[in-house]
């Protein structure tokens, strides 16, 4: 009777230990970025704002500027490190906000059903169809540059992205017999939804949020590139690319390419990690 249980445990433990290389690399890269951002004042070789026209547009590896300098002679490495703070925090804000909104709306639609579900779902379709960047630009046009407004705007426009998935998984999960067995035991709908339905929706939610993080990072970088995001002298990666425009045209692409590469790697890493977390939670649950 109990013979197979330890065997099962051992098997699932083995499965958990086997982590793909891509995931390890992604985790390492994200930790590196976080540490770099947090400890930028200690670790950065230069002040991010120290200009030096003598040393402008140095290529990577030139003297004490490992990753070179931009058109006003600021150290690119130091600016990437300082920029990690806003570049990572702002999308995180978007993801958290849209996650909370998406869960609330998705669960509400799934549990209410009927016309309420129809109204919420159509509403989400409309918001989903509206380009997120355009919405963020419109909001910025009203409120002026700064990060708070675009974060909120992007959060709203990403809500359907999360909400639709939460809704469909919640409907699927809600049809499973254990939902009914909790009702028979006398538990209220709210309790069952929050205690049992929500945790079982989490795997998809995490995977979806990772995707949203990537999109938000790119959108915010685009806003900064357009000059609508962070205001100088604050720096994020998007504004670094933006300020490198003229240098790129002059044939000195480094100061723009490097932050662009960091954006790319970050988005890929977050997606790889999100997919892995989502997959392993689902695997732990289903046992296959």
């Amino acid at each position: 009777m109990t013979l197979t249980i330890p065997a099962l445990r051992a098997r699932s433990a083995r499965r958990r230990r086997r982590r793909p290389l891509a995931v390890s690399l992604a985790v390492a890269f994200l930790i590196l970025l976080t540490v770099a951002g947090l400890l930028a004042p200690v670790l950065a070789p230069h002040s991010p704002d120290a200009t030096s026209l003598l040393n402008s547009l140095l290529p990577p590896g030139a003297g004490e500027h490992w990753l070179g300098t931009d058109s006003t002679g600021r150290d690119v490495l130091s600016r990437i490190m300082y920029g990690a703070r806003l570049s990572l925090l702002a999308p995180l804000g978007v993801v958290l906000l849209s996650g909370v909104l998406g869960i609330a709306i998705g669960l509400l639609a799934a549990r209410a059903g009927g016309w309420a579900d129809a109204v919420i779902s159509r509403g989400m379709d409309i918001v989903f169809a509206f380009p997120s960047l355009l919405l963020a630009m419109l909001v910025v046009a009203v409120t002026g540059p700064g990060l708070t407004a675009p974060i909120c705007a992007l959060a709203v426009s990403y809500t359907p992205f999360v909400g639709r998935v939460v809704r469909s998984v919640a409907i699927q999960e809600g049809a499973r017999p254990y939902m009914e067995s909790y009702r028979v035991m006398g538990f209220g709908v709210l309790w069952v939804t929050l205690r049992h339905l929500l945790p079982n929706v989490m795997p998809v939610l995490i995977a979806q949020s990772a995707l949203a993080f990537g999109y938000a990072l790119v959108d915010l970088a685009s806003l900064s590139y357009l000059g609508l995001g962070v205001r100088p002298p604050d720096a994020d990666w998007g504004s670094m690319i933006s300020q490198a425009r003229s240098a790129i045209l002059q044939g000195e692409p480094w100061s723009g390419l490097l932050p662009g590469l960091v954006v790319l790697l970050t988005v890929v890493s977050v997606n790889v990690l999100g997919e892995h977390i989502g997959g392993s939670i689902a695997g732990k649950r289903e046992g296959s």
């Binding site: 009777m1 109990t2 249980i5 099962l8 445990r9 499973r176 017999p177 254990y178 009914e180 067995s181 909790y182 009702r183 028979v184 035991m185 006398g186 538990f187 209220g188 049992h196 945790p199 079982n200 649950r285 289903e286 046992g287």
Partner: protein, 268 residues
């Protein structure tokens, strides 16, 4: 103690044009076991779901321990849950896949009998013991247990609330024969030890014969025959009951007789 613990009066349930349950009435005495027999579409499962409060009847009443159940208030819901619990066919599906069996058994205890965590832990241990599960099985996730162990766990969880009535909806249908026998004997012992009453919903007449004293046979939402289970099996009065009985394979199975029963029933 001669009042029925459960009585159902003129129960009707319509889904649009379809009448799933049509004027169903029965009573269940404390400590008794009633079988509801029928095939798919007979309305037996809908009846069970109404008893458990998962469906609202179109008309008719369900009376538990002398008081008509109904209303969506928290108080009404808790009272119904305390008096009547249900076991589903699929014991795997009826557990939250992310929680250990012990956690799942403890949860309704906390709702219905608030108390210190240590008392709940002790009670969970007792319940596991009562249904023949090891403490180790209690620490397992539902997917790590076999079908029979899960059904034991589901029974333990329901018993934790100490209901007067247990509704079992095809509770042994998905189990292997040898495991089915284990669950049936467990249910038998529990009824003898605790005086709980069963409403045993099943398509399987042999199982119903083993576990119930009285039975009703349902077809197309209506009760076509009722009485002592043994009496129904020995001398069925309704042609449908006869068809059901003759359809059960046995040595010397006469398929022509089944066909004759079918014609007799269609001629009604």
């Amino acid at each position: 103690m001669n009042a029925p613990v459960l009585s159902v009066t003129s129960l009707v349930k319509r889904f649009g044009h379809l009448t799933a349950v049509d004027d169903v009435s029965f009573e269940l005495m404390p400590g008794a076991s009633l079988g509801i027999v029928g095939e798919s579409g007979s309305g037996k499962t809908t009846t069970a779901r109404i008893l458990a409060g998962l469906e609202q009847p179109t008309s008719g009443t369900v009376t538990l321990d002398g008081e008509i159940v109904g209303g969506q208030s928290r108080r009404a819901r808790l009272r119904q849950a305390r008096l009547l619990q249900m076991i589903f066919q699929d014991p795997y599906g009826s557990f939250d896949p992310r929680r250990t069996v012990a956690e799942s058994i403890a949860e309704p205890l906390r709702l219905h009998a608030p108390g210190p965590a240590a008392a709940h832990r002790a009670r969970v241990g007792e319940l596991l013991d009562q249904v023949g599960l090891s403490a180790r099985a209690g620490e397992s996730l539902p997917r790590e247990l076999s079908g029979g162990q899960r059904q034991r766990a589901a029974i333990a969880r329901a018993l934790g609330i100490a209901p007067r009535v247990l509704v079992l909806d095809e509770a042994v249908a998905a189990l292997d024969v040898s495991i089915q026998a284990q669950i049936l004997t467990l249910l038998d012992e529990l009824r003898r030890d605790t005086g709980i009453s069963y409403v045993f919903v099943s398509h399987d007449l042999a199982v119903v014969r083993y576990i119930t004293d009285t039975a009703v046979v349902m077809r197309h939402g209506r009760i076509v025959e009722r009485g002592e289970t043994e009496q129904i099996l020995r001398s069925p009065r309704h042609p449908y009951t006869r068809l059901l009985l003759d359809s059960i394979p046995s040595p010397g199975w006469d398929l022509d007789r089944v066909a004759r029963d079918r014609r007799a029933l269609d001629a009604l």
